[in-house]
Every structure is written in structure tokens, then in C-alpha cells.
Symmetry: C2
Subunit: 226 residues, 2 copies
Amino acid sequence: MADRYPPTARTRIKRLPKRAQYDREAVHAVLDAGVICHVGYVIDEQPYVTPTLYWRHGERLYWHGSSASRMLRHLKQGVRACVTVSHFDGFVLARSGFHHSVNYRSVMALGEASLVPEEDKLAVLEDFVERLLPGRWPELRPPTRQEVKATTVLWMDLDEVSAKIRTGQPIDDEEDYALPIWAGVLPVRTTVGAPQPDPRLNPGTPLPAYLRDAGAWPAWLAAAPR
Amino acid sequence: MADRYPPTARTRIKRLPKRAQYDREAVHAVLDAGVICHVGYVIDEQPYVTPTLYWRHGERLYWHGSSASRMLRHLKQGVRACVTVSHFDGFVLARSGFHHSVNYRSVMALGEASLVPEEDKLAVLEDFVERLLPGRWPELRPPTRQEVKATTVLWMDLDEVSAKIRTGQPIDDEEDYALPIWAGVLPVRTTVGAPQPDPRLNPGTPLPAYLRDAGAWPAWLAAAPR
């Protein structure tokens, strides 16, 4: 397998091509740092953008939801989709308004979604939960057949994909560096706070090991390159 | 002006309608808590979703970028667009996989974008900067005519709009509450860190007042309802 996604006319980044990345490793790193994607699809010529959870397994992106969801009912027909994942890492304050920017990591994947067949759904959902919270799946009340049926899972091949990444300080016009204007980066971070137990928790239920170390979470949640 | 956006066939939320909100105030609160939106548009039947900065002024959403941007060149023709803003507020861990969820606040706005005319652009861009960093615009090196020309600003009326919000603890099947399975919320927060000055800062340039109080930032950055 090639170590990069061949850029196409639709994924080749023309604006600021120095920010573009097509390496599998770079694309995977952006995808694996997030949990929410924005799925674009078209119904009756109107584009819609729906935020939803996703996960990656190898060269496939997965997302899921209620079988009654308009988004999923539409996409499972194999129509064209765009899945975008973005992490906002900071404001970049330059000496002129024009050179202000943001630091970010984003991936855009184009393709057609396919339906995970009924017999594979349970294993795919287990994979999803175990990626987020290793050890949680076997603790849960097992899914009923009706619950699995009421859940639709879609996947899309990572095939027509590009990443776009900006890091670092502002790039100002050379003559502006002498101006006494504050310039720099305001870093933005996404973090997970302390677990908030359900007031109806069965008394004596301990906090599971996978929730004890909040410090481990940023590994998969929008951790910006330091 | 009515205090809610009349739901249409395209914005009426059918799945989990109890999470839907059409009140202007609720929609504005979600929009004003964010800085990054995801814009959906269609070129040659392919949907694209592009993350970009946005701001709200009254009943208009604005976004901007390079005049060379494919997204902006396409949308300025008045084609159909979808602007989605979403804040991810936490993981909701239930006693069954099926009832796991996320806490979030999102807005989907449908419409057609229009171009801000050349003569209005400067005032609109000033409004954008001053909303984010009150006091910064007059400190900056003023924009050149060429820079303004190289910037495209679009707006869209808030007209066909819905918000979807989930808060709080999991809702489990009644018989599952007795199970000794940990359930609760893992809150997710987006925060702004300490300013990182550009190493090329003109020595002696003080940190501006609007950057001194990092605690003020969450007011407009994805601050979840507590």
C-alpha cells in the first residue's frame, strides 16, 4: 500500500499548498486525535452538514446512529459524502489583520458510504467502544438484538483524502516585525474533566480503571502537537 | 420579529425532537459560543465540508477567507449552503452501549450565501476582530486596499435554522439502573491557554489588556452550560 493518498483534482489543496499533507501517517494522526466529525451530504440539491461521532479502523472511517436518522438513511444508499475532521489549536495574532490566522489540523475525506451488514455490526460497535474506553464493553449490559437492529453503522474507505495543518507563529510582512504590536499564538486545548457520576449510580460501583487517569485522555482527544 | 425560527420540512428535527430548539435566543447562544463552523456546499454533485472561522451579527452569519479559496469562489455565486456549528460538551456513559450518548450544542443553518460588497468589507472585518478581541483592531497595522481586495467575506441570513442540544446524565432503561455499571458524564471543555509571544516580537511590546484575562475567554469559546 502506498504511504500516501494520491491527490485528485478534488482533494489537491491549491490554497497554501505548503499546509497540505497526503501522507497516510499524517492523515491517521489527525483522525485518531478526534471523536467528532462533520458529515456532508446532499438531499434534493441541498447540502447538509451533521456532526457525529466517528472512529477509524485501518483504512476505513466509521460512524453510526439511529436507523431512523435522516442522515444515515440517506447515506446508506451509497450516495456521495464528505467527512471532515478538524481540530482547532489556536488563534494566530499577527501585526496586520490580513495575516491573522488559526492553527488547526483537519482532514477531508470524500467517498461513498456503505452499510455495515447486520452480522458484523456488533463487532464493529465493540471496536468503537473499546477504542474510546478500553475495558468498558465487557462491563456493559449486553446489547439486545432489537438495539443492534435499531442502530445503523456506516463506513467509508479512506481513499480520496487530504489533510491540512497549520502550526506555529504568525508570518508577517517583513517590514511589520518592527512595529510595537503584540503578536503570537493563543493556544486552544480540548480537555476531559473529572468524571461526573450519575446520581442514580448503584451505590458502591467503583470508578473503572479506564476513567481514573484523566491525563491519558488527550491522547485521542484533539491533542495538539506541542 | 418572531422570537423563533419557523421550522421547515428541512430543519424540523424528527429524531429526538425534545432536543430541538428553534428559539432565536437559544440559537444565538450556541452560535456566540463558537468561532469555527463547518460549511457544506456542493460542486459537481460532490458535497464538501470546510471548517472556517465565522461570526454572527444580528440575524446574519459571516465567514471569510482568501478570494482565491475554492469554497468562497463557489459560494459567492449564491448557491445553497449549510453552516453547522457544534460544541462537544461531554461523553455520556450509560449502562448499556445503546444508551451511550454525547452532550453537545449544535446549530444547522441552511441558505444561500451572499457577497459582502467591496465598500462594506472593512467595517465587517473590523466587527469580526473586535468581537473576538475588543480593542485589537485600532492597534493593528491598517489593511491595504490590496489586502481587502484579496479577502472575500460572505454572509447568510439566519432564516432556516435549528439548534439541537443534549445535556445531563444518561437515560437508561429502568431495569438497568440497578446494575453495578459505572454511568455518568465525562465533561469536555475547550479552553484558551496562556498567550505565546512571537519570538520576533518588538522588545518591550506589552501584552494587551484584552489578552491578560484568560478567564474571560470561555465566554465566547464553547462554554458549556454548567
